[in-house]
Amino acid sequence: MLGADAIVKCLEEEHVSCVFGYPGVAIAPFYQSLSESTIDSVLIRTEQNAAHAASGLARATGTVGVCAVTSGPGATNVITGIATAFADSIPLVCITGQVNSNLIGSDVFQEADITGAVESFVKYSYLIKNVNDIPRIMKEAFHIASTGRKGPVLIDVPIDIQNATISHFKYPESVSLRTYKPTVKGHIVQIHKVIKELEKAKRPIICAGGGVLLADAQKELIELAEKHHLPVVSTMMGIGVMPTDHPLYYGMVGNNGKLYANRAMNESDLLIMVGARVADRAVSQPDLITGNKTLVHIDVDSAEIGKNAWAAIPLVGDCKSIFNDFLQEDFSGDHEAWIETLNGYRSSMLRERKVNPAYVDPAAFIRRLSELMDDHSIFVADVGQNQIWSCDNFHVRGGKFFTSGGMGTMGYAIPAAMGAKFAAKDRQVVALCGDGGFQMSMCELATMRQHRIPVKIIVLNNSFLGMVREYQHYTYKDNYQMVSLDGNPDLSYLSKAYGISYLRAEKMDGIDEIIREFLSGNESCLLECMIDPLDLVK
């Protein structure tokens, strides 16, 4: 058995269903072996999107996403995708081909020090130097990627290692990493301290981040909130922890969040942060939030606690396990008045939008779209104004909401939606992007066509890089620089070129029919919405 066969065998042992990637000489032995496996492979059109697609698959299924690219430029191209996954703690295993072991360091053709280059964006990386290490390294890589705070792991495999014969293949049943042992169970003393605070608190609130989704703890969160009448807000990465119209859910916090969500968080006397980094976009001055409240910070990564805000009660562990511990305990608190206050905020503190009737109103459009989509659909928002409108207006019911939150990588939506659709073929998957982000990944329309991945795509077209234009509107007095997208292609022709049906919405009149037609059937479709070029998210 060759090293390349061993890698494929390990992927089979891990029940990997699909590898997204792009070949090259340095990864050719791996793809040769993969062709003899039942694992699907999807030929992506640029390497960055291989990592995004693997990320979409990982988020849709809760498993580890896998991508494989060649050495040198293939490997360096994938870095942005890896960094995006790292920022959002998405579990990935990225396999990169590498030049012959004995040529490493001599700057030969398509050589790049990829383990060095990705050092700050991976949980861990390996350069395989001995073919017999493959089973152990693969096992460790999947373990590290999918446990504790999840994230990407990179494995660099020189071509001679892929071609070497492995003396004895045995996939280890367990890992023996001497140093890596993430905490799962929350400390009971800390849990009791939190309960004491909950009994005392008059204005408690839970702020849920992406960690709750990564731990698959939505059900437990809802149960806990309902049992004790605890209001919940979320960060951008936490959208979808609860259905948007749940009576105890008060929206997304942050500088692009709901006014009432921020007010609820600011006025609380007990703030329970769960699986959230307390980063700058969610809490503008993290070090100040503890002034008038007790901060409890629950996270699987102990280094997150106290990084941006000092927590009175740190609680390290997996939030699903911790929520279950809370559910086991008997305690009660009285905060009905607080809930009533929050309900008052929710009904009165609405942002007024100035809507131009000559165009599609992106806010109302996204709201309506979310209502007409299937219950268990997956929606992927790109980055920019479209993302903020999506966060603000998309109503999550039973489905999932993905976006690139930490890194804010434009072009994420289409490949991530593709990865999600590939893994969840029975679900409706919709990607929404601006005309800028769309052009960063429109090459993937060919991948969708070739591999029959029927993703629905919406482009909000304002012929601008809207988010930057909005920034220049406020900061540089409308001196627009580098934000006009005047050279946009005609999307109707583009759709035709890629064999995808095309719809266009220019106004809100008849929008329901257009959305219904767009969503109908299990075929790709591109819907272009003309929106006011001067529209603002706030």
Partner: protein, 166 residues
């Protein structure tokens, strides 16, 4: 700003030092000195890092370093409970006339002369950083041609805080 000495026990893997120093540089932590060497068990390397920052930063350094997969153990070496040593080699310009005076200073500090030439001398001195600083101050009037300091290595006193390897 406080100064803190961390002692790390790490897996002796390829690139482990660059992973650790890379963490410091990308998160903007200071490294005053870093020393590394293999332990009695060749699977592990012991690293001593001297760093500084306010309390929150020092706390973050400890947590972030502990999070690295290769890091087996991290400890704070408190000055009152530890022994620190640094080695310095100092090449000073000195002719026949000056040699005796430099030698006298070196003797007081229990430093060794490890090389002598017509115009220069290399002095080797071991001790805590304050001792080495004091010795360098004493050489103020001489031209120091080259100076190599290792940064400190340290161990905790006694047997209580030993991390046993298995």
């Amino acid at each position: 700003m406080r100064r803190r000495v961390f002692q790390l026990l790490v897996d002796n893997t390829t690139g482990v030092l660059s992973r650790i120093s890379g963490l410091f540089s990308r998160r903007g932590y200071n490294i005053e000195s870093i020393t590394a060497g293999v332990t009695a068990d060749p699977r592990f390397t012991r690293i001593t890092i001297v760093t500084n920052g306010d309390d929150e930063i020092l706390d973050q350094i400890e947590k972030q370093v502990a999070k690295l997969v290769d890091v087996r153990d991290i400890k704070v070496l408190k000055p009152e409970e530890s022994v620190y040593r640094e080695l310095a080699m100092i090449k000073v310009r000195c002719d026949d006339m000056q040699r005796q005076a430099v030698l006298a200073n070196a003797t007081i500090f229990r430093a060794k002369i490890v090389d002598v030439s017509q115009e220069s001398m290399i002095i080797e001195i071991t001790g805590n950083q304050e001792k080495i600083d004091a010795f360098l101050k004493l050489l103020d009037g001489y031209e120091i041609l080259e100076l190599a300091r290792t940064g400190i290595a340290g161990l905790g006193r006694g047997i209580e805080n030993v991390t046993y390897l298995n």
